[in-house]
């Protein structure tokens, strides 16, 4: 019987009402008195030396307040990178400067050359056209392998070359891995590309800077997944504003998917310019700008090899990856191909020996950083594709091959430095076989063939590491931040609660799901709990929302703070009832004394905390407000099994997704409706990556996919209804809610399932196709079919 409230209930989302009535408060909806507008003049070449930026004529244009260039940011800090990777020789990565506005050189199409601030947005745009600039175009490096060649043009003249780092993991295992390959009964090799993507949250980025001359305080309104992180990075490293003089607000944010984690130059510019001009300064990205200024995702080129013994047990895995960093290091870019990727290469399997090599490369392209899944989709895609290929080469059932090699005992320490606490990979595969109706596939294939179509079934397993992350561990790995979360729970005199959290909701439904947890802990109505997020002026500190961490880390902080509240409230209740604190029980919003009929209501206790006439003042302070910081002791490890069924038109190469099923293990679930929605969205993005989306540059570094005319976003008619199930639950053992996180799973688990399905369809039609790089557009599939 479904619950109608609390943990496990599909409570309808309270935030929906404002979004459905047009009364949300997105950053672009914020307009401040006296606000000016900025337009960025961006480079139209990928690589060039700036000889001159003449702003004189433009400065006299109507409405222009001031035009800034790179020279105005001499002495201002560089946009910082939050993660320092150490390479396999013990050297730290090469880390270039990233000025707010280009200085000396432009390094990608979209690099900002000048910023025009004017009374209106249109005036700023008009004035941009009057700026005379002279840029000597230089040869650009776009292809990663070319960028590493001796004598290749350097993206950064002050660095040795275009290699950010050459990372080996686990370096000490390398010899043993190579030896295992020599002894292998069978080796399967696959070279593949994880296509470059653009996250494309539907709300473009916006920044509004404000400066209060009377207090000297700066405020930045920005479309961020983590306003506290922006406050720290921008304040401490770029503009030199102490945190107590800088407030960052991220109100309703229209999707993030990773690309709104990072600190961007436009945020620093608006904050800087607001002070320089003593006026609020607003920037609203157009979608065209977003394509060339939002950090992109993925873009890995990999060779993966899987070694098996004569009984088809996996004995070793070896990968060689080139990962594109783009022209500058975005906030978490170095961590994505390393610690969020190499550590996942064991997948769901007990492969004893693994070696991962990653070369991160600078190119004249937009910076690349985390996009939904971040490193884990890249790991899963390689692994699950090579396993499928191995099964075909060996003539064994791909599901049986996976099951044979599944990890079945937990906790399990992988050879790539992580320890899975719980999981049951056979259970999710069993569930998948049921919900995807594998038994009926043969008949469905026959029906497709009868109409001249090829039908394929592809499966995929995944594991992800989320609930990011133990601070002491990530510190050792190069993170320049802690990855805890904080929460303050403020109980008002009349019993209502305000919970201030560092987690940020930009579609995940925190305002609904978080109160379900707290209401259940106290036994009150969820309507009595209000969630406040997205403002550094409220929550004490926050690392924000990404890496499927909000409930596992942020939720745990809320639980800890609420436990402190309950403990204090019990002391007050004990005093009111003249009983021993040890005998006080809290149930259904009332405190009672065990074994008696004495009881006081939640509201009586909260009132007493603020009107302490009858109160244990000698023992505890009045008031009822507690803060907790929660630092996880391990990652969480959601897992699952996905199945995709496709039809391929042999005449055109067009792929249609006929069925898509997902069986996930997210541990305990707070709101099943929201969890399903997260999986649906991830699958939609994964299908997009597999069939439609590709960010393309030409050999000169021109961005060829600069709008929705060229970049194929998934539409409603590209996808089917999905069947998702999360009834397999092995709770996380190390956080108080037993939750694992569900935000990225769909995007991680779906691309390999789609590609495996297409290969299956083509092989069923007698086509000897073993691999096609994503996106599997009709032309690529058709080309592959022609052999």
């Amino acid at each position: 019987m479904p619950k109608d409230g609390g943990i496990g209930a599909s409570t309808k989302r309270r935030e929906d009402v404002r979004f459905l009535t047009g009364t949300g408060n997105y950053t672009d909806d914020i307009n401040l008195r006296g606000q000016a507008y900025v337009h960025f003049l961006r480079s139209d070449v990928a690589h060039g030396k700036i000889n001159k930026v003449d702003t004189e004529a433009a400065s006299g244009m109507p409405g222009v307040l001031r035009i800034f260039t790179g020279a105005d940011f001499e002495g201002v800090g560089s946009i910082p990178c939050g993660w320092q990777v150490t390479d396999r020789f013990g050297e730290v990565m090469q880390e270039p400067a990233h000025p707010v506005l280009a200085q000396g050189k432009v390094r990608h199409v979209g690099d900002p050359i000048a910023a025009i601030v004017a009374e209106t947005y249109m005036q700023a745009r008009d004035a941009a056209e009057a700026i005379e600039y002279d840029i000597d175009e230089l040869p650009a490096v776009v292809n990663m392998k070319d960028a590493l060649k001796e004598g290749a043009p350097k993206v950064h003249d002050d660095l040795k070359n275009n290699l950010c780092y050459d990372w080996g993991f686990v370096e000490e295992n390398k010899a043993a891995v190579n030896e295992a390959f020599e002894k292998a009964a069978h080796v399967t090799t696959l070279e593949l590309v994880n296509n470059r993507l653009i996250a494309n949250p539907m709300e473009p980025r916006v920044a509004v800077g404000d400066f209060n001359r009377s207090t000297g305080d700066s405020t930045l309104y920005t479309t961020s997944q983590n306003p506290h992180v922006i406050r720290l990075l921008m304040g401490a490293f770029v503009l030199g504003i102490p945190e107590h003089k800088l407030r960052v607000v991220s109100p309703d944010v229209g999707g993030g998917f990773g690309t709104k984690i990072f600190h961007y130059a436009e945020e620093a510019f608006c904050t800087f310019a607001a002070k320089a001009l003593n006026r609020p300064v607003k920037w609203t990205s157009t979608r065209s700008e977003a394509f060339m200024s939002d950090a992109h995702g993925r873009d890995h080129v990999t060779k993966i090899e899987l070694a098996l013994d004569k009984d088809n047990n996996f004995t070793a895995l070896r990968t060689d990856t080139h990962a594109n960093m783009g022209a500058y290091l975005s906030t978490f870019a170095p961590s994505v191909p390393t610690w969020l990727h190499g550590t996942l290469m064991a997948g769901n399997y007990k492969t004893p020996l693994i070696y991962v090599n990653v070369k991160a490369v600078f190119t004249n392209t937009v910076p690349v950083d985390a996009y939904r899944g971040a490193g884990r989709p890249e790991a899963t895609y390689q692994l699950e594709r090579v396993i499928d290929k191995a099964a075909r080469e060996l003539g064994v059932d791909p599901i049986a091959l996976r099951r044979q090699n599944f990890i079945t005992e937990f906790p399990y320490a992988t050879p790539v430095a992580v320890e899975y606490d719980t999981g049951d990979y056979n259970a999710t595969m069993d569930k998948l076989e049921e919900i995807a109706d594998f038994k009926g596939f043969a008949a469905r294939r026959k029906a497709s063939e009868a109409k001249g179509m090829l039908r394929g079934l592809g499966i995929n397993c995944y594991i992800e590491a989320c609930g990011i992350a133990p601070s002491n561990l990530v510190g050792q790995l190069g993170a320049r931040a802690g990855l805890y979360e904080s929460a303050t729970v403020r109980v008002n005199a009349t019993g209502g609660l305000v919970v201030m959290t560092g987690s940020h909701s930009h579609g995940q439904g925190h305002e609904t799901a978080f109160p379900q947890v707290i209401a259940e802990m106290i036994g009150i109505d969820a309507d009595m709990v209000e969630i406040v997020h997205g403002d550094t002026g409220n929550a004490p500190m926050g690392m924000g929302t990404y890496g499927s961490r909000s409930l596992a880390v942020g939720g745990s902080a809320m639980v800890r703070a609420t436990e402190k509240i309950i403990n204090k409230a019990k002391k007050i209740a004990a005093h009111l009832m003249e009983a021993s604190e040890a005998d006080i029980e809290l149930k259904d919003g009332a405190f009672s004394v065990a074994g008696t009929d004495k009881s006081v209501a939640w509201g009586d206790v909260t009132l007493a905390a603020y009107v302490p006439h009858n109160y244990p003042l000698e023992d505890i302070e009045p008031g009822l407000e507690e803060t907790a910081f929660y630092d996880p002791s391990n990652f969480t490890y959601p897992s699952g099994a996905y199945a995709c069924e496709v039809e391929v038109d042999p005449d055109t190469g067009r792929v249609t997704i006929e069925r898509f099923s997902a069986a996930d293990d997210f541990g305990n679930i707070v709101n099943p409706m929201i969890v399903s929605g997260q999986v649906h969205g991830g699958i939609g993005q994964g299908i997009g990556q597999a069939l439609l989306e590709a960010c393309a540059y030409d050999e000169n570094g021109q961005l060829q996919t600069g709008s929705y005319m060229d970049y194929a976003m998934p539409r409603a008619d590209d996808v089917p209804f999905y069947t998702v199930d999360h009834s397999c639950q092995t709770p996380c053992t190390h956080n108080p809610l037993g939750v694992k996180g569900c935000g990225e799973a769909g995007a991680i688990g779906s691309p390999p399932a789609v590609v495996n399905a297409v290969i299956d369809a083509l092989q069923s039609g007698g086509k000897n196709v073993t691999h096609i790089d994503m996106p599997l557009s009709p032309s690529r599939v058709w080309d592959a079919m022609q052999g």
């Binding site: 459905l20 909806d29 979608r287 065209s288 649906h680 939609g684 709008s707 209804f721």
Partner: protein
Amino acid sequence: MPQVNMTVNGKSASGQIEGRTLLVEFLRETLGLTGTHVGCDTSQCGACVVHVDGRAVKACTMFAAEAEGAEVLTIESMAAPDGTLNTIQQAFQDHHGLQCGFCTPGMVMSAAALLAENPKPTEAEVRNYLEGNICRCTGYHNIVKAILAASGQDVSAIAAE
């Protein structure tokens, strides 16, 4: 600057605007009706869909001056004056047809136009009609389901959670 006059959500609205002002800019900046969103600059995403004289229109694709004398309806007009959601809005909430909410106003306005011309659409008709509305959060599953439900059709057989 020229003057433009129209009826927006049943009230007369006018403003002095530059000729190049788009309808969506007039709604958002001049009238302060920020429920209509701008998600792209190539008329692809549909976050700005409003109704002009009963037709669904991308408000980034016409100049405000072109709406001179027109009856314009935006997302702000869809709920009852007491705040009660209309059938489509309620179905979106009931079936979790939105996440970040940014594409939602356009989705609701498109859905309303669809159901006005085709009160009982099939799944394929809904998906086809939404070709001009992009959502990045939901994978469309619950949007399509919500619109079918709003049309009075039984959606209980569609995979739920």
